[in-house]
Protein backbone atom coordinates (compact mmCIF):
# COMPACT_ATOMS: atom_id res chain seq x y z
CA UNK A 1 0.00 0.00 0.00
CA UNK A 2 1.19 3.48 -0.76
CA UNK A 3 -0.25 6.65 0.69
CA UNK A 4 0.78 9.97 -0.78
CA UNK A 5 0.22 13.20 1.09
CA UNK A 6 0.86 16.38 -0.88
CA UNK A 7 0.89 19.66 1.01
CA UNK A 8 -0.30 22.16 -1.59
CA UNK A 9 -3.10 23.23 -3.86
CA UNK A 10 -2.76 21.29 -7.06
CA UNK A 11 -4.73 21.07 -10.27
CA UNK A 12 -4.36 17.34 -10.10
CA UNK A 13 -5.64 16.92 -6.56
CA UNK A 14 -7.89 19.85 -5.88
CA UNK A 15 -10.82 19.71 -8.35
CA UNK A 16 -11.50 23.43 -7.86
CA UNK A 17 -8.19 24.16 -9.56
CA UNK A 18 -8.94 22.10 -12.67
CA UNK A 19 -7.29 22.87 -16.00
CA UNK A 20 -10.16 23.06 -18.47
CA UNK A 21 -13.81 23.48 -17.56
CA UNK A 22 -16.96 23.60 -19.70
CA UNK A 23 -15.47 25.97 -22.25
CA UNK A 24 -13.16 23.47 -23.94
CA UNK A 25 -15.70 20.65 -24.49
CA UNK A 26 -18.21 23.23 -25.76
CA UNK A 27 -15.63 24.55 -28.19
CA UNK A 28 -14.54 21.07 -29.30
CA UNK A 29 -18.20 20.18 -29.89
CA UNK A 30 -19.03 23.32 -31.88
CA UNK A 31 -15.71 23.23 -33.75
CA UNK A 32 -16.25 19.58 -34.63
CA UNK A 33 -19.80 20.26 -35.75
CA UNK A 34 -18.59 23.20 -37.86
CA UNK A 35 -15.97 20.89 -39.44
CA UNK A 36 -18.68 18.34 -40.23
CA UNK A 37 -20.92 21.08 -41.62
CA UNK A 38 -18.08 22.32 -43.84
CA UNK A 39 -17.32 18.86 -45.21
CA UNK A 40 -20.97 18.04 -45.86
CA UNK A 41 -21.88 21.34 -47.48
CA UNK A 42 -18.83 20.94 -49.77
CA UNK A 43 -19.98 17.43 -50.66
CA UNK A 44 -23.51 18.68 -51.33
CA UNK A 45 -22.09 21.40 -53.58
CA UNK A 46 -19.83 19.01 -55.49
CA UNK A 47 -22.73 16.69 -56.38
CA UNK A 48 -24.59 17.03 -59.65
CA UNK A 49 -27.96 18.78 -59.53
CA UNK A 50 -29.39 21.80 -57.82
CA UNK A 51 -29.10 22.32 -54.09
CA UNK A 52 -32.20 23.23 -52.10
CA UNK A 53 -32.37 26.78 -50.69
CA UNK A 54 -32.04 25.29 -47.18
CA UNK A 55 -28.82 23.52 -48.12
CA UNK A 56 -27.51 26.81 -49.51
CA UNK A 57 -28.36 28.69 -46.33
CA UNK A 58 -26.65 25.96 -44.28
CA UNK A 59 -23.27 26.92 -45.75
CA UNK A 60 -23.45 29.74 -43.18
CA UNK A 61 -23.66 27.27 -40.28
CA UNK A 62 -19.90 26.72 -40.04
CA UNK A 63 -18.79 30.34 -39.54
CA UNK A 64 -21.60 30.89 -37.01
CA UNK A 65 -20.72 27.75 -35.03
CA UNK A 66 -17.01 28.57 -35.09
CA UNK A 67 -17.75 32.08 -33.84
CA UNK A 68 -19.72 30.79 -30.84
CA UNK A 69 -16.99 28.20 -30.19
CA UNK A 70 -14.27 30.84 -30.32
CA UNK A 71 -16.29 32.82 -27.79
CA UNK A 72 -16.11 29.84 -25.44
CA UNK A 73 -12.36 29.51 -26.09
CA UNK A 74 -11.89 33.16 -25.26
CA UNK A 75 -13.78 32.75 -21.97
CA UNK A 76 -11.40 29.91 -21.07
CA UNK A 77 -8.30 32.08 -21.40
CA UNK A 78 -6.99 33.10 -18.00
CA UNK A 79 -5.04 36.07 -19.42
CA UNK A 80 -7.71 37.41 -21.79
CA UNK A 81 -6.11 40.75 -22.65
CA UNK A 82 -3.17 38.89 -24.17
CA UNK A 83 -5.28 36.91 -26.66
CA UNK A 84 -3.58 38.72 -29.58
CA UNK A 85 -0.35 36.96 -28.64
CA UNK A 86 -1.67 33.88 -30.48
CA UNK A 87 -1.27 35.81 -33.71
CA UNK A 88 2.24 37.09 -33.18
CA UNK A 89 3.69 33.59 -33.24
CA UNK A 90 3.35 30.31 -35.03
CA UNK A 91 4.74 27.37 -33.05
CA UNK A 92 4.65 24.23 -35.13
CA UNK A 93 5.01 21.97 -32.08
CA UNK A 94 1.93 23.44 -30.43
CA UNK A 95 -1.51 22.22 -31.54
CA UNK A 96 -3.01 25.20 -29.73
CA UNK A 97 -1.09 27.42 -32.15
CA UNK A 98 -2.22 25.40 -35.19
CA UNK A 99 -5.79 25.72 -33.94
CA UNK A 100 -5.59 29.46 -33.50
CA UNK A 101 -4.38 29.84 -37.09
CA UNK A 102 -6.81 27.29 -38.57
CA UNK A 103 -9.67 29.30 -37.07
CA UNK A 104 -8.39 32.36 -38.92
CA UNK A 105 -8.31 30.43 -42.21
CA UNK A 106 -11.84 29.10 -41.61
CA UNK A 107 -13.49 32.53 -41.88
CA UNK A 108 -12.45 33.62 -45.38
CA UNK A 109 -12.89 30.10 -46.78
CA UNK A 110 -16.37 29.57 -45.31
CA UNK A 111 -17.60 33.08 -46.12
CA UNK A 112 -16.35 32.90 -49.73
CA UNK A 113 -17.89 29.45 -50.12
CA UNK A 114 -21.20 30.65 -48.64
CA UNK A 115 -21.23 33.67 -50.95
CA UNK A 116 -20.67 31.37 -53.91
CA UNK A 117 -23.40 29.00 -52.69
CA UNK A 118 -26.27 31.40 -51.98
CA UNK A 119 -28.62 32.18 -54.86
CA UNK A 120 -29.54 35.70 -56.01
CA UNK A 121 -32.57 36.05 -53.72
CA UNK A 122 -30.59 34.81 -50.73
CA UNK A 123 -27.72 37.18 -51.43
CA UNK A 124 -30.25 40.02 -51.55
CA UNK A 125 -31.67 38.97 -48.16
CA UNK A 126 -28.21 38.61 -46.64
CA UNK A 127 -27.27 42.07 -47.98
CA UNK A 128 -30.44 43.49 -46.46
CA UNK A 129 -29.65 41.97 -43.08
CA UNK A 130 -25.98 42.98 -43.13
CA UNK A 131 -26.98 46.44 -44.41
CA UNK A 132 -28.31 47.22 -40.95
CA UNK A 133 -24.78 46.66 -39.65
CA UNK A 134 -23.33 48.78 -42.42
CA UNK A 135 -21.94 45.74 -44.23
CA UNK A 136 -24.54 45.58 -46.99
CA UNK A 137 -21.97 45.39 -49.80
CA UNK A 138 -20.08 42.41 -48.31
CA UNK A 139 -22.11 39.52 -49.82
CA UNK A 140 -21.92 40.96 -53.33
CA UNK A 141 -18.19 41.66 -52.93
CA UNK A 142 -17.48 38.11 -51.74
CA UNK A 143 -19.65 36.75 -54.52
CA UNK A 144 -17.59 38.69 -57.05
CA UNK A 145 -14.38 37.25 -55.62
CA UNK A 146 -15.79 33.71 -55.66
CA UNK A 147 -17.26 33.92 -59.17
CA UNK A 148 -15.93 31.22 -61.49
CA UNK A 149 -14.02 29.44 -58.71
CA UNK A 150 -16.92 27.50 -57.20
CA UNK A 151 -15.43 24.03 -57.54
CA UNK A 152 -11.96 24.98 -56.32
CA UNK A 153 -13.59 26.76 -53.38
CA UNK A 154 -15.68 23.69 -52.55
CA UNK A 155 -12.53 21.55 -52.41
CA UNK A 156 -10.66 24.12 -50.30
CA UNK A 157 -13.70 24.28 -48.03
CA UNK A 158 -13.70 20.47 -47.72
CA UNK A 159 -9.98 20.38 -46.87
CA UNK A 160 -10.20 23.17 -44.31
CA UNK A 161 -13.16 21.41 -42.69
CA UNK A 162 -11.22 18.15 -42.44
CA UNK A 163 -8.25 20.01 -40.95
CA UNK A 164 -10.46 21.69 -38.36
CA UNK A 165 -12.07 18.36 -37.44
CA UNK A 166 -8.79 16.51 -37.02
CA UNK A 167 -7.24 19.39 -35.09
CA UNK A 168 -9.95 19.27 -32.40
CA UNK A 169 -8.80 15.73 -31.54
CA UNK A 170 -5.07 16.33 -31.99
CA UNK A 171 -5.28 19.16 -29.45
CA UNK A 172 -5.87 16.59 -26.72
CA UNK A 173 -3.78 13.72 -28.04
CA UNK A 174 -0.49 15.63 -28.14
CA UNK A 175 -0.73 16.43 -24.42
CA UNK A 176 1.12 13.27 -23.47
CA UNK A 177 0.95 13.77 -19.72
CA UNK A 178 -2.73 12.69 -19.64
CA UNK A 179 -2.97 8.98 -20.39
CA UNK A 180 -6.59 8.99 -21.61
CA UNK A 181 -5.69 11.54 -24.30
CA UNK A 182 -2.59 9.59 -25.31
CA UNK A 183 -4.17 7.99 -28.36
CA UNK A 184 -3.42 9.50 -31.76
CA UNK A 185 -6.75 8.00 -32.88
CA UNK A 186 -8.51 10.90 -31.14
CA UNK A 187 -7.87 13.02 -34.28
CA UNK A 188 -9.83 10.78 -36.68
CA UNK A 189 -12.34 9.97 -33.90
CA UNK A 190 -13.22 13.62 -33.41
CA UNK A 191 -13.30 14.12 -37.19
CA UNK A 192 -15.93 11.40 -37.78
CA UNK A 193 -17.85 12.44 -34.67
CA UNK A 194 -17.85 16.01 -36.01
CA UNK A 195 -19.06 14.69 -39.37
CA UNK A 196 -22.00 12.92 -37.75
CA UNK A 197 -22.93 15.91 -35.56
CA UNK A 198 -22.69 18.15 -38.66
CA UNK A 199 -25.02 15.79 -40.54
CA UNK A 200 -27.37 15.72 -37.53
CA UNK A 201 -27.48 19.52 -37.49
CA UNK A 202 -28.38 19.63 -41.22
CA UNK A 203 -31.06 16.98 -40.70
CA UNK A 204 -32.84 19.29 -38.26
CA UNK A 205 -33.55 21.65 -41.17
CA UNK A 206 -36.02 21.09 -44.03
CA UNK A 207 -33.62 19.99 -46.76
CA UNK A 208 -34.82 18.20 -49.93
CA UNK A 209 -35.89 14.58 -49.47
CA UNK A 210 -33.07 13.41 -51.74
CA UNK A 211 -30.51 15.51 -49.83
CA UNK A 212 -31.83 14.06 -46.57
CA UNK A 213 -31.12 10.53 -47.79
CA UNK A 214 -27.63 11.59 -48.80
CA UNK A 215 -26.97 13.16 -45.36
CA UNK A 216 -28.38 10.12 -43.52
CA UNK A 217 -26.00 7.88 -45.49
CA UNK A 218 -23.03 10.04 -44.45
CA UNK A 219 -24.31 10.09 -40.87
CA UNK A 220 -24.52 6.28 -40.78
CA UNK A 221 -21.03 5.94 -42.28
CA UNK A 222 -19.60 8.42 -39.77
CA UNK A 223 -21.27 6.65 -36.85
CA UNK A 224 -19.98 3.28 -38.07
CA UNK A 225 -16.43 4.65 -38.26
CA UNK A 226 -16.86 6.30 -34.87
CA UNK A 227 -17.80 2.97 -33.27
CA UNK A 228 -14.77 1.33 -34.88
CA UNK A 229 -12.40 4.09 -33.74
CA UNK A 230 -13.83 4.10 -30.20
CA UNK A 231 -13.23 0.35 -29.98
CA UNK A 232 -9.65 0.86 -31.22
CA UNK A 233 -9.01 3.65 -28.71
CA UNK A 234 -10.28 1.48 -25.85
CA UNK A 235 -8.33 -1.59 -27.01
CA UNK A 236 -5.20 0.51 -27.53
CA UNK A 237 -5.32 1.98 -24.05
CA UNK A 238 -6.20 -1.24 -22.26
CA UNK A 239 -3.40 -3.19 -23.93
CA UNK A 240 -0.88 -0.38 -23.39
CA UNK A 241 0.97 0.47 -20.21
CA UNK A 242 -0.32 0.76 -16.66
CA UNK A 243 -1.18 4.45 -17.07
CA UNK A 244 -3.35 3.74 -20.12
CA UNK A 245 -5.13 0.88 -18.38
CA UNK A 246 -5.89 3.06 -15.39
CA UNK A 247 -7.17 5.83 -17.65
CA UNK A 248 -9.44 3.60 -19.72
CA UNK A 249 -10.71 2.09 -16.45
CA UNK A 250 -12.53 5.39 -15.90
CA UNK A 251 -15.01 4.42 -18.64
CA UNK A 252 -14.80 0.65 -18.03
CA UNK A 253 -16.09 0.49 -14.47
CA UNK A 254 -14.72 3.78 -13.14
CA UNK A 255 -16.58 6.97 -12.39
CA UNK A 256 -17.37 7.96 -15.98
CA UNK A 257 -18.75 4.54 -16.95
CA UNK A 258 -22.49 5.31 -16.66
CA UNK A 259 -22.28 8.60 -18.57
CA UNK A 260 -20.09 7.14 -21.30
CA UNK A 261 -22.16 4.07 -22.03
CA UNK A 262 -25.61 5.67 -21.74
CA UNK A 263 -25.00 9.06 -23.37
CA UNK A 264 -22.22 8.32 -25.87
CA UNK A 265 -22.60 4.68 -26.85
CA UNK A 266 -26.31 3.89 -26.43
CA UNK A 267 -27.82 7.37 -26.78
CA UNK A 268 -25.41 8.86 -29.28
CA UNK A 269 -24.46 5.90 -31.48
CA UNK A 270 -26.71 2.82 -31.16
CA UNK A 271 -30.11 4.50 -30.82
CA UNK A 272 -29.73 6.94 -33.74
CA UNK A 273 -28.47 4.20 -36.08
CA UNK A 274 -31.43 2.05 -35.09
CA UNK A 275 -33.90 4.89 -35.60
CA UNK A 276 -32.43 5.96 -38.93
CA UNK A 277 -32.44 2.35 -40.16
CA UNK A 278 -36.07 1.90 -39.14
CA UNK A 279 -37.05 5.18 -40.81
CA UNK A 280 -35.30 4.15 -44.01
CA UNK A 281 -36.46 0.51 -44.16
CA UNK A 282 -40.04 0.82 -42.99
CA UNK A 283 -40.67 4.38 -44.16
CA UNK A 284 -41.60 5.55 -40.67
CA UNK A 285 -42.26 9.21 -40.18
CA UNK A 286 -38.96 11.06 -39.92
CA UNK A 287 -38.55 12.86 -36.59
CA UNK A 288 -35.89 15.06 -35.06
CA UNK A 289 -35.16 12.43 -32.39
CA UNK A 290 -32.25 10.68 -34.13
CA UNK A 291 -30.33 13.89 -35.01
CA UNK A 292 -30.90 15.28 -31.53
CA UNK A 293 -29.54 12.09 -29.99
CA UNK A 294 -26.46 12.31 -32.21
CA UNK A 295 -25.88 15.88 -31.03
CA UNK A 296 -26.24 14.91 -27.37
CA UNK A 297 -23.88 11.96 -27.89
CA UNK A 298 -21.28 14.09 -29.66
CA UNK A 299 -21.31 16.65 -26.88
CA UNK A 300 -21.16 13.96 -24.16
CA UNK A 301 -18.16 12.30 -25.88
CA UNK A 302 -16.14 15.51 -25.71
CA UNK A 303 -17.31 16.43 -22.25
CA UNK A 304 -16.39 13.01 -20.85
CA UNK A 305 -13.01 12.84 -22.62
CA UNK A 306 -11.98 16.31 -21.45
CA UNK A 307 -13.16 15.73 -17.86
CA UNK A 308 -11.90 12.15 -17.52
CA UNK A 309 -8.57 13.00 -19.15
CA UNK A 310 -7.84 15.47 -16.37
CA UNK A 311 -8.68 12.91 -13.69
CA UNK A 312 -6.43 10.20 -15.16
Amino acid sequence: MTEIDVARHSNQIDPVLHIWGWEIPVYLFLGGMAAGAMILSSLLALRRGERSPTARWLTLAAPLLVSVGMGALFLDLAHKLYVWRFYLAFRWTSPMSWGAWILVVVYPVTLLFAAASLDEAQVARASGFLGRLGLGKLPALLRGLAAGRERALAWAHLGTGAGLGIYTGILLSTLGARALWGSALLGPLFLVSGLSTGAALFLLFPVKEEERHYLVRWDMLAIGLEVLLLVLVIVGLSTGGAAGQEAVGLILGGRFTAQFWTLVVIGGLVAPVLLETLEARFHYRVTAVAPLLVLVGGFALRWILVAAGQVA
Partner: protein, 179 residues
Amino acid sequence: MKKRYAMAMDTRRCVGCNACVIACKTENALHTGGFRDWIVQEVSGTFPSLQMEIRSERCNHCSDAPCVGACPTGASHVAEGGVVMVNKQKCTGCKACIASCAYGARYVHEDGFVDKCTFCLHRVQKGKQPACVETCPTRSLTFGDLADPESPVTRLVRTRRFKVLQPETGNEPNLYFLS
Protein backbone atom coordinates in the same frame (compact mmCIF):
# COMPACT_ATOMS: atom_id res chain seq x y z
CA MET B 1 30.70 24.54 -21.69
CA LYS B 2 26.94 25.12 -21.74
CA LYS B 3 25.44 25.34 -18.28
CA ARG B 4 22.88 22.76 -17.22
CA TYR B 5 21.25 23.73 -13.97
CA ALA B 6 19.89 20.89 -11.84
CA MET B 7 18.90 20.19 -8.26
CA ALA B 8 19.62 17.23 -6.01
CA MET B 9 17.11 16.62 -3.22
CA ASP B 10 18.23 14.36 -0.40
CA THR B 11 15.16 12.40 0.75
CA ARG B 12 17.14 11.01 3.70
CA ARG B 13 17.79 14.46 5.12
CA CYS B 14 14.43 16.09 4.49
CA VAL B 15 12.03 16.28 7.45
CA GLY B 16 9.20 17.94 5.54
CA CYS B 17 9.32 21.22 7.49
CA ASN B 18 7.98 23.25 4.52
CA ALA B 19 10.61 25.95 4.96
CA CYS B 20 11.43 25.68 1.23
CA VAL B 21 7.77 26.30 0.39
CA ILE B 22 7.58 29.40 2.56
CA ALA B 23 10.97 30.72 1.39
CA CYS B 24 9.78 30.42 -2.23
CA LYS B 25 6.47 32.09 -1.49
CA THR B 26 8.23 35.00 0.22
CA GLU B 27 11.05 35.38 -2.31
CA ASN B 28 8.71 35.35 -5.30
CA ALA B 29 5.78 37.17 -3.62
CA LEU B 30 3.27 34.46 -4.57
CA HIS B 31 -0.42 35.09 -3.99
CA THR B 32 -2.56 33.10 -1.55
CA GLY B 33 -2.96 29.54 -2.83
CA GLY B 34 -0.10 29.82 -5.33
CA PHE B 35 2.84 27.49 -4.81
CA ARG B 36 5.90 26.86 -6.96
CA ASP B 37 7.22 24.07 -4.71
CA TRP B 38 5.57 21.67 -2.32
CA ILE B 39 6.21 18.76 0.05
CA VAL B 40 5.18 15.18 -0.74
CA GLN B 41 5.13 12.51 1.96
CA GLU B 42 4.91 9.02 0.54
CA VAL B 43 4.22 6.20 3.01
CA SER B 44 4.45 2.67 1.68
CA GLY B 45 4.30 -0.84 3.11
CA THR B 46 1.90 -2.58 5.51
CA PHE B 47 1.68 -1.73 9.20
CA PRO B 48 3.86 -2.15 11.19
CA SER B 49 6.57 -2.36 8.54
CA LEU B 50 6.08 1.06 7.00
CA GLN B 51 8.53 3.41 5.40
CA MET B 52 8.21 7.05 4.55
CA GLU B 53 9.91 9.17 1.95
CA ILE B 54 9.64 12.95 2.10
CA ARG B 55 10.31 14.94 -1.04
CA SER B 56 10.49 18.64 -1.74
CA GLU B 57 9.13 18.86 -5.30
CA ARG B 58 9.03 21.61 -7.91
CA CYS B 59 9.31 22.01 -11.68
CA ASN B 60 11.77 19.45 -13.06
CA HIS B 61 13.11 21.86 -15.70
CA CYS B 62 13.02 18.92 -18.12
CA SER B 63 15.69 18.87 -20.82
CA ASP B 64 12.93 17.87 -23.27
CA ALA B 65 10.11 19.95 -21.80
CA PRO B 66 6.66 19.19 -23.29
CA CYS B 67 5.24 22.44 -21.84
CA VAL B 68 7.56 24.48 -24.05
CA GLY B 69 6.44 22.53 -27.12
CA ALA B 70 2.76 22.89 -26.19
CA CYS B 71 2.91 26.66 -25.74
CA PRO B 72 1.25 28.42 -28.71
CA THR B 73 2.85 31.83 -28.19
CA GLY B 74 6.42 31.11 -27.12
CA ALA B 75 5.69 32.35 -23.58
CA SER B 76 7.10 29.11 -22.17
CA HIS B 77 10.73 28.97 -23.16
CA VAL B 78 14.09 27.55 -22.19
CA ALA B 79 16.31 30.17 -20.58
CA GLU B 80 19.94 30.18 -19.40
CA GLY B 81 21.17 26.85 -18.06
CA GLY B 82 18.15 24.94 -19.37
CA VAL B 83 15.77 26.63 -16.93
CA VAL B 84 12.15 26.50 -18.17
CA MET B 85 10.58 29.94 -17.79
CA VAL B 86 7.27 31.65 -18.58
CA ASN B 87 7.23 35.13 -20.11
CA LYS B 88 4.05 36.57 -18.63
CA GLN B 89 3.91 39.26 -21.30
CA LYS B 90 3.31 36.53 -23.88
CA CYS B 91 1.13 34.12 -21.88
CA THR B 92 -2.56 33.96 -22.86
CA GLY B 93 -3.50 31.60 -20.03
CA CYS B 94 -4.66 28.89 -22.45
CA LYS B 95 -3.38 26.20 -20.05
CA ALA B 96 -1.99 23.87 -22.74
CA CYS B 97 1.28 23.75 -20.76
CA ILE B 98 -0.52 22.75 -17.57
CA ALA B 99 -2.23 19.91 -19.42
CA SER B 100 1.10 18.77 -20.88
CA CYS B 101 3.01 18.69 -17.56
CA ALA B 102 3.20 15.29 -15.88
CA TYR B 103 4.37 16.78 -12.58
CA GLY B 104 1.63 19.34 -11.91
CA ALA B 105 4.35 21.97 -11.58
CA ARG B 106 2.36 24.78 -13.19
CA TYR B 107 -0.67 26.70 -11.99
CA VAL B 108 -2.65 29.74 -13.05
CA HIS B 109 -1.51 32.85 -11.21
CA GLU B 110 -4.34 35.03 -9.94
CA ASP B 111 -3.29 37.68 -12.47
CA GLY B 112 -4.09 35.23 -15.28
CA PHE B 113 -0.74 34.04 -16.56
CA VAL B 114 0.73 30.60 -15.85
CA ASP B 115 3.36 30.53 -13.13
CA LYS B 116 6.01 28.03 -12.05
CA CYS B 117 9.41 27.52 -10.44
CA THR B 118 12.26 29.45 -12.10
CA PHE B 119 15.10 27.88 -10.08
CA CYS B 120 15.27 31.49 -8.76
CA LEU B 121 17.23 32.41 -11.88
CA HIS B 122 17.17 36.08 -10.78
CA ARG B 123 19.18 35.06 -7.69
CA VAL B 124 21.37 32.54 -9.48
CA GLN B 125 22.47 35.18 -11.99
CA LYS B 126 23.74 37.24 -9.05
CA GLY B 127 25.74 34.28 -7.76
CA LYS B 128 23.24 33.40 -5.04
CA GLN B 129 21.47 30.12 -4.36
CA PRO B 130 17.73 29.61 -5.04
CA ALA B 131 15.64 30.71 -2.03
CA CYS B 132 14.53 27.18 -1.13
CA VAL B 133 18.13 25.89 -1.19
CA GLU B 134 19.44 28.75 0.93
CA THR B 135 16.68 28.28 3.50
CA CYS B 136 16.70 24.50 3.89
CA PRO B 137 17.67 23.86 7.54
CA THR B 138 18.68 20.21 6.94
CA ARG B 139 20.66 21.01 3.77
CA SER B 140 18.57 18.57 1.78
CA LEU B 141 18.67 20.71 -1.33
CA THR B 142 21.72 21.19 -3.55
CA PHE B 143 21.58 23.37 -6.64
CA GLY B 144 24.25 23.65 -9.30
CA ASP B 145 25.55 23.10 -12.80
CA LEU B 146 25.65 19.49 -14.02
CA ALA B 147 27.98 20.48 -16.84
CA ASP B 148 30.63 21.33 -14.25
CA PRO B 149 32.19 18.04 -13.08
CA GLU B 150 33.30 19.62 -9.79
CA SER B 151 29.99 21.21 -8.76
CA PRO B 152 28.42 19.80 -5.58
CA VAL B 153 25.31 18.68 -7.46
CA THR B 154 27.38 16.73 -10.00
CA ARG B 155 29.32 15.06 -7.21
CA LEU B 156 26.12 14.04 -5.42
CA VAL B 157 24.56 12.59 -8.57
CA ARG B 158 27.83 10.77 -9.31
CA THR B 159 28.28 9.23 -5.87
CA ARG B 160 24.79 8.73 -4.49
CA ARG B 161 21.88 6.50 -5.48
CA PHE B 162 19.14 8.62 -7.04
CA LYS B 163 15.87 8.51 -8.91
CA VAL B 164 14.00 10.98 -11.06
CA LEU B 165 10.19 11.21 -11.07
CA GLN B 166 8.32 9.53 -13.94
CA PRO B 167 11.36 8.87 -16.15
CA GLU B 168 8.96 7.03 -18.51
CA THR B 169 7.69 10.39 -19.79
CA GLY B 170 10.95 10.77 -21.69
CA ASN B 171 11.14 14.41 -20.60
CA GLU B 172 14.59 14.03 -18.99
CA PRO B 173 13.74 15.76 -15.69
CA ASN B 174 16.55 17.59 -13.89
CA LEU B 175 15.48 17.04 -10.28
CA TYR B 176 17.44 14.20 -8.69
CA PHE B 177 16.02 12.55 -5.58
CA LEU B 178 18.83 11.01 -3.55
CA SER B 179 18.14 7.99 -1.35
